[in-house]
Symmetry: C2
């Protein structure tokens, strides 16, 4: 037989979320297209924090970081996670109520963490924004979605924010 029926009953769909409007749009697209009252898919929100900074006791200018500054930086990081997850919840909460949602917070290089997580949890689909904000950002950030599209084995959906059209 040429092709098999690929629709599993329960799919695990990973959405890579970050602070960007684009990733929230990708989440919204994902929920609208992959979830309904009848589906029993699981939505996995994956947020990748930047690699833990190496807190040298001295900053670039040679001044010492106080413990307070380090704590503030760490708090900023966890505030960011909470803020992104809250924004995400505001989006998927509007849709189907019987949605199973998991949250994963990784840390490190986004493209590696995303690829590894998708592999590890045996995700069925990865949905992410494209970060197509123009040449400069695309060159820098677009490489995340490029890299994932090439390296992840499951289907990858790249969603662009309509304002970028």
């Amino acid at each position: 037989m040429e092709a098999i029926n690929l629709k599993k009953k329960e799919c695990k769909i990973v959405v890579a979320v970050d602070e960007s409007q684009e990733s929230m749009y990708a989440l919204s697209w994902c929920v609208g297209n992959f979830f309904s009252e009848k589906t029993t898919n699981t939505l996995v929100l994956l947020y990748v924090k930047p690699p833990p900074p190496v807190y040298s006791s001295f900053d670039a200018a040679g001044y010492m970081f106080s413990g307070d500054v380090i704590t503030a930086l760490e708090k900023y990081g966890s505030d960011l996670v909470n803020s992104v997850m809250a924004r995400a919840e505001a989006i998927y909460g509007k849709f189907s109520s019987n949605m199973s949602v998991e949250r994963i917070v990784g840390s490190g290089d986004a493209k590696d963490v995303i690829c590894n997580t998708v592999e590890k949890i045996k995700a069925d689909t990865l949905v992410m924004g494209c970060h197509g904000y123009g040449f400069f950002k695309r060159a820098l950030l677009g490489s995340v979605s490029d890299h994932c599209a090439k390296n992840v084995k499951c289907p990858v959906v790249i969603v662009k924010h309509p304002e970028e059209k």
Copy 2:
């Protein structure tokens, strides 16, 4: 409001099909995930023929092409279209019966034709294989899905054949 409900009632979903097993797998994935008895989406099968060959009267070795050869080449091209569309039909035919299907046969450079067609018919989603067959083919062919993912404005799904995992 952060994000809008992106699920339109009727979506136009383009699947770029070609002779590859991978594109048939992408079609199967697409039908399994985007179509059900309840959806009223339209499936658009897009096949791109290579650019029409410039039939020089002389081939590379300087011999003249007879009219018969040219006719045979043209027939081969249309046989290929029919064969791909028949394989596609065997796949989507197994799914929901009330599926609206359109066929588009383009000609030219695949990446340009795909991007232009998606734009022209205002498609909601583009689904395509990745052609990730390994370094050499990826370098040559992967560029089609790369190019489309970057240039098409609607969400793009890149599906890999599981054997390539």
